[in-house]
Symmetry: C2
Subunit: 320 residues, 2 copies
């Protein structure tokens, strides 16, 4: 039986092997993606981001557990991306502990990825891994990453629905909540809602939302009732509180973007971003080839001795 057939039939071992090939950007990984691609585009991709310590992994654990209880036949994919670590492969120990309820569930496929130092970071490998899981019939696919640097924006461009998770007690709460977060959030989650200060976090988010939306309304000529306004959902992930409400909000958002055309728009945008990334990688490998070429040192020497200008040098490099 071909690898592709095995994956389409739900063979997790083969899936894991192919994902490793995809992550390592091998020829076999490319071939697999080429073959799997026609089977993609069905899964609901849910991004989960937020600061370190907000309890994202625990939230994912509760979320998946409840989703599985509701629909027994559902297969769920989880990708935990760590943009701060260069160690990759399998499930990280910390994730295994926090996701213990779901990591033994045969219908749930959990994959940890580390992207630090990876060329193109999140944007290169994660979309590819999502596609493989999508083809394998996992739906929804949850992509969790810590909100560090570019990572959260990249997650949002990848997902249909983006959850931003905040929590009290993460330092100065007003400062910690970044202004840009509202632009990417479809749903705001305040986890650890039983902690001191949780109400304050909810209030800050609400004021930020109101400010943001009144500005948007002032900016637009007519009121747009068709706009999605991100709900704020308090949760206590460790006790599975608020998870049902969160699932309801996710389903509501899915229906909303299905109806208004955003689902397709986001799919197209994701594919465009991915294409651009692949194009850049392709070109960059041309540079590596060029600079490894015997001519390269030669050309640099000619520049240092001022015999050819940088512009001519580039033309020469590209021609060679």
């Amino acid at each position: 039986m071909s690898l592709i057939k095995q994956i389409l039939q739900g063979d997790q071992l083969t899936l894991a092997r192919i994902i490793t090939q995809v992550e390592n950007d091998t020829a076999e990984g490319h071939r697999a993606l080429d073959e799997l691609f026609p089977y993609t585009g069905r899964a609901h991709i849910i991004g989960i981001t937020g600061p370190s310590g907000a309890g994202k992994s625990t939230l994912v654990n509760s979320l998946v557990k409840l989703l599985r209880e509701r629909t027994k036949e559902t297969r769920i994919g989880v990708i935990a991306v760590d943009p701060t670590s260069p160690f990759t492969g399998g499930a990280l120990l910390g994730d295994r502990v926090r996701m213990r309820d779901i990591s033994n569930d045969e219908q749930v496929f959990v994959r940890s990825m580390a992207t630090r130092g990876a060329l193109g970071g999140l944007t290169r490998t994660v979309p590819a891994v999502v596609q493989v899981m999508d083809a394998a019939g996992y739906d929804p696919i949850l992509v969790e990453t810590v909100g560090a640097g570019q990572a959260e924006v990249e997650i949002a461009s990848l997902a249909h629905t983006t959850l931003v998770v905040e929590a009290p007690g993460l330092g100065d709460d007003v400062q910690a909540i970044k202004a840009g977060i509202l632009e990417i959030a479809d749903i705001l989650v305040v986890n650890k809602a039983d902690w001191l200060g949780a109400d304050g976090v909810v209030q800050i988010l609400r004021s930020m939302l109101e400010l943001g939306y009144s500005q948007k309304l002032n900016g637009s000529s007519s009121l747009e009732p068709a706009n999605w306004i991100p709900p704020i959902i308090p949760t206590v992930a460790t006790e599975e509180k608020g998870i049902q409400e969160l699932i309801d909000a996710i389903v509501k958002h899915k229906l909303f973007i299905r109806k208004n055309g955003d689902w397709l728009k986001r799919d197209r945008k994701r594919l465009e971003t991915w294409l651009e990334q692949l194009f850049e990688n392709e070109l960059r490998s041309h540079w590596r080839n060029a600079s490894a070429h015997e001519n390269y040192a030669n050309i640099i020497n000619l520049m240092v001795s001022r015999k050819i200008s940088p512009y001519l040098a580039v033309k020469k490099l590209i021609k060679d």
Copy 2:
């Protein structure tokens, strides 16, 4: 008379026009650089970086004034780079005020550049403008920029000698001095040395230096007396205090790197970085061409309908 001849003879108006062409990346700018390139590689390029409010422009003003008094025949180039502003061209008003002593000097050429939003930022245009001034016989060339983000590292990779300017009263002094600064500094300047807290800044820098150098010495098997240890120079730029000592340190560093071969190494490194940047720009313009191509929308549509995979799409784009 050709433009190049006019520039080589010191025509400032022509120089300004060519620099504008170079900044705007026009064909005329490229042609001029190609022709001027053989005349470059002579100027001593001095980078000046540090936090906003440290008094860098005033320091440059005093530095150039004293240099001109010492050697009447010297022509000095000044490039003030503002990586936070998108407004470019001529000398910015603030620079004109702070550099009032030198901006009326015929032998001094001051150019302000804004690089925010510019493709490739500092690395694309500044080296090119430096080359033009270099060919025009300006030596030294001072490149001043606020130490924001990547800017200071880029300045250091451009310069033969990098001055890092600190000052008291810029918020929490210990926090404000970034750890990475020592890796790029050839000379440390504590400006506003008459202010309260200046001694503290000097002490912090000294401890950081000692820590850094003892680590380096522990790491290497033998003592390297050939190492340059950055001097710490207190100045009061507004009163021209300490400027003579600063000039002495700059000249000393120049002789040092001339002797140990770093001068040539830095020149080669700069040209390599520039070449890579030009190569990337060239490739990126290929992407713009590709995505503007009539086929592009077509290819995206084929991807969205899952008829061709992203990898095949890239191959198709590159072929077209």
